[in-house]
Symmetry: C2
Subunit: 474 residues, 2 copies
Amino acid sequence: MSPIGHEVRRLALRMIGTILTALVLLVVIGPVPAARALDIRTLTSPQGIPFWLVQVSELPVVTVDFAFAGGTRIEPAAKAGAATLASGLLVEGAGDMDGPAFQDALAARAVEFSTGVDRDAFSGSFRSLATEAEEAAKLVGLALAAPRFHADDIERDRRQLLVSLARSAENPQAIASRSLLAGLFPTDSYGRDTDGTRETVAALTREDLVAYVSRQFTRNRLTLGVVGDITPEAAGRVVDLAFAGLPAGDSRPKTDPVSPSFFGETVVDRPIPQTIITFALPGILRSDPDWFPAFVMNHILGGGTFTARLFREVRETRGLAYSVGTTLYPLDRAGLLYGYAATRNDRARETVQVIRDQIARFAEEGPTEAELAGAKKYLTGSFPLSLDGSGAVAGLLVTMQIHNLPPGYLDDRSSLIEAVTAEDVKRVAKRLLDTDKLSVVMVGQPADGAGSAAPAAARVSEDGARSTSPNSIQ
Amino acid sequence: MSPIGHEVRRLALRMIGTILTALVLLVVIGPVPAARALDIRTLTSPQGIPFWLVQVSELPVVTVDFAFAGGTRIEPAAKAGAATLASGLLVEGAGDMDGPAFQDALAARAVEFSTGVDRDAFSGSFRSLATEAEEAAKLVGLALAAPRFHADDIERDRRQLLVSLARSAENPQAIASRSLLAGLFPTDSYGRDTDGTRETVAALTREDLVAYVSRQFTRNRLTLGVVGDITPEAAGRVVDLAFAGLPAGDSRPKTDPVSPSFFGETVVDRPIPQTIITFALPGILRSDPDWFPAFVMNHILGGGTFTARLFREVRETRGLAYSVGTTLYPLDRAGLLYGYAATRNDRARETVQVIRDQIARFAEEGPTEAELAGAKKYLTGSFPLSLDGSGAVAGLLVTMQIHNLPPGYLDDRSSLIEAVTAEDVKRVAKRLLDTDKLSVVMVGQPADGAGSAAPAAARVSEDGARSTSPNSIQ
């Protein structure tokens, strides 16, 4: 990595707080001021594929964002990592083009094409000059319908994924995140690392990759957002060139909710000076009628980076942690209120206790009027800032459809937030902020200092051998 | 960090390749197709501060990007880290507002405000709704003119920076980048880590921070780009509210070129399975008349991610490395052609040899006509994709001014690239691609396999104790 790369990387890490906020905003969806609301058109391509379009003409560029419902959720446990490996291999050749030929074809048209995998979807994006949009779509269509998956490429990418897994196994943040989700979802795909394990990745075959993409890349799983300098007719052609060649597939996968197993406290012993803390409480599904009260509640508790109660109490008042915060994490089949903090080992248990106390206090007292007003002002006022760029808008179009929100919803977002009352927030706080269900992972060597009221946690040296504390709630 | 955060982080890391490309494009500057070139206005505020403005009205948002020439270049060596520490503390209070009061004021207006430091500048950006732009500017102006630097905040941020430095000391990519620059610039500020060292950061005082910002935040060092839904008059008021309160300061710091000291090969021994490789050759200043031939040359050699010679020869043909590439790194006072690769320990020396051979071959033979045509097509066609969003455009306005490019330059970029001939590229390749000046750092445990023609390198266990190989060129 170059020095620029290194600086970019550090910048990227520093931006994560901002990105988290933006993600939550995107997940929630909202309007620009009504006078300039996005003009969303809901269309169907000539071959019958539905898509949403926002026409903008400031740049001669077209962006297409797509998501196939599934992701690691449709991987068999023994094949974990197939989605990630397949994603990386999509630029390594398609149809009768090998990797270099495919990459030359993308470069000759200056096409950007990227894909990624999460716990609920395989997502991607392609961008090009408007004049090249149809050629770009043909190449993407070929990559999705006929990926090459050559043995040499599989081996090279597998080796790199194994290196990445080995690094991740030593990364405190990754351990903390992985251990928390593994504890919350011990038998569900949500509890697995999206990159798989060293064992499953080592065993993946070409057939596994083919099986995954055959199941994943179907029209019935597809959601599409198109943004740019393109007419509805041309956009329909682009959509068909990229996606009409895919099979219809089964109907959408069921999304029966899964209940997290709250487990108390776990310590993963690592010889590092800081303790990385992750924690979770029950959250709510995006479709829950209490979504907006919960969203406002989270902002006041831990979502509003510098202004949240946890930040003020943990960092500003007590100087305990450099970073602390929470976010609503609405998976398709489960909701979490997810939190994190980083602090010195000798203050880790005190930090957890303060977090616990603040959660209990919020459940008991609810928000102040000033907090409620501030949260509403911020959550409505900051939304337009998150819509800068056609990539952001294309992502929004996909997210809205995944959450079954109508296009007109954008006009209502501000009033839905404004309508949240202190009683609403208090009600949802009582429902969600139950410290008996607080699950905590600490990675590091948290000292058992005096003054900590936290129960003694099981101390384990491997997250694989994690056990739970006596007061854990399953 | 939340699971979202973790996934965002991985995405961010995967995007670095893309970002690197985008950075190079931004540094080079170029046009959207002439029909829709950016309408750049060069203006002066009522208080006499020059700024560039692009009015766009699709979102009711205003973005202001700024850069103060200097950065870590104006830190005394004994005070390294002062700029980074000061940057982080700017949101911790200003004027008579403490941290929480200042952060409440930003949040109440939904203002995004971020800053960062590199080897040539202290940079920042603030964004808000257009209706809040003047209030946002007042807050930023207060942070720049009267940062609080409270003792408690300094200590907390210092601790966190020390933790970050400790992690960076064990991060192979960071070691490789740091060691290369330290070797190239052993006595210049460019050779120092922008975060300072554990010793200098531990010793920084409030007075050091005040001294740094007093020297750094002056109008004579300032470059400004404003983008958004705002008139020239209102933009002038915003500029004055943020920056007119600063002293004029000395004239701009001199930018006498500094010559990198090319040093041969260095191995930093680390018990990891992969070897991280960084390397450098002479580059050129952005003001060099051969900039565009060098830019095209770099794209063909290693800049064009999937299509570059190094990628094809190192990765596709030989399967040696997962990633390999080069970038032009135009510092204000020096130019580098900077490269990186990651490979298995037992293939590291072979990888370096292939890189060396490809560099020598390019210097000897120059580009093929097909490579030249492909590079021109990509470098002109991809540029509009990099201008998506007002943040990208605001950054472009600042970069253009730093490089002394006129606004009309955007109209000429494509033709400047198209005008590059094979002879131009060959000439600049002969000038720059001198393998006697190739400096290489390997972090890991590169095996001394047979078949490597690379000279034996000094093996050291600490980058601090690095020595150079017998054939190093100082």
